[in-house]
Subunit: 158 residues, 2 copies
DNA sequence: TCGATATACTTTGATTATCAAAGTAAAGTT
DNA sequence: AACTTTACTTTGATAATCAAAGTATATCGA
């Protein structure tokens, strides 16, 4: 009887801890990330801009539609974001020669620097998390995060 | 030698998985939550509105400053949010009798319903996560999420 | 090959969230 | 009573967002 009560208490504690952590993380993660990411060197861009830069990436040129799809925004919204990034010198626009309707977007040198800055930030974060977990604990975390994602996916089955 | 390589590979896999999951979750969690939360019944409020409702809470009346502080926005921003919620019937405004500068805010019946709806959503989410984890796996998740939070806190030591 | 349709993107008009700074009213201080 | 502080609202500006209208180019069907 006592054992059962203890178990239930432990579960309740975990429940409360999880609830608390998830609420705080969800509500503040973007603000936190923005503050941590947008430093002196890249203070003229927003976290949003950084996500656009992240999706454009280092490899090949990307067209507007595919970037908008990755970011889950309309192409109109993206046009405005790209206008800003071009004005600030992070991004280049080019018309495709093959199909002149298509706009090809790529990072300038400055944009590439910003991309790498972001990458380092992610790397630090993941290493900070991994440092405290060992062996199968990592797998547990991955599994748990997948659960979070699955939960939202099944909730949003459009 | 081979063992070492295998270990390193496993770590790299965990690294990539974590990176992927965290990036997706961070970038989309608010959109996901909004879609999952703002249903037919409460379709005239945003996720932002819901967070205001969450902070106001069920217990006692709260003044503007304390709500703004919890939400980490300026009081001016909150004024606008509260204007909207009052207009839509989720929130009541009252002047404090003791100190007539102070505005006391509380939930209407409709606001209370919305609060409970949000609570159920969180409950479902946490139960969905907990269902798949057993025993100490829960502790691992809590620990890992704390690491994430600590990482941001130390990064943002303003 | 021409006209209709589709595609890729930009522009426009509207809404929401946000801040800093100025404004208003009440309370506290000297 | 005059000055300062506090609690909030208002104002003006900016950013992100969407839907819908507009523009230019490509494709398809007759």
């Amino acid at each position: 009887m006592i054992i059962k009560v203890k178990l239930v208490n432990a579960l309740n504690e975990a429940y409360d801890a999880l609830n608390d952590l998830l609420v705080k993380l969800f509500n503040n993660i973007l603000t936190y990330e923005e503050k941590a990411l947008i430093t002196d060197e890249f203070k003229d861009i927003s976290l949003n801009d950084m996500h656009v830069i992240e999706v454009i990436g280092l490899s090949q040129k990307k067209n507007m539609s595919s970037i908008a799809k990755s970011l889950e925004v309309t192409v109109g919204t993206l046009t405005i974001a790209i206008n800003n990034l071009v004005k600030k010198g992070y991004v280049k626009r080019m018309r495709s020669a093959k199909d002149r309707r298509v706009v090809l977007v790529s990072l300038t040198e400055k944009g590439t620097d910003a991309y790498k800055h972001h990458e380092v930030f992610h790397d630090e974060m993941i290493k900070a998390i991994m440092k405290r977990l060992e062996g199968e604990q990592l797998d547990v975390l991955v599994k748990a995060l997948n659960s979070v994602q699955d939960f939202f996916k099944t909730k949003n089955q459009d």
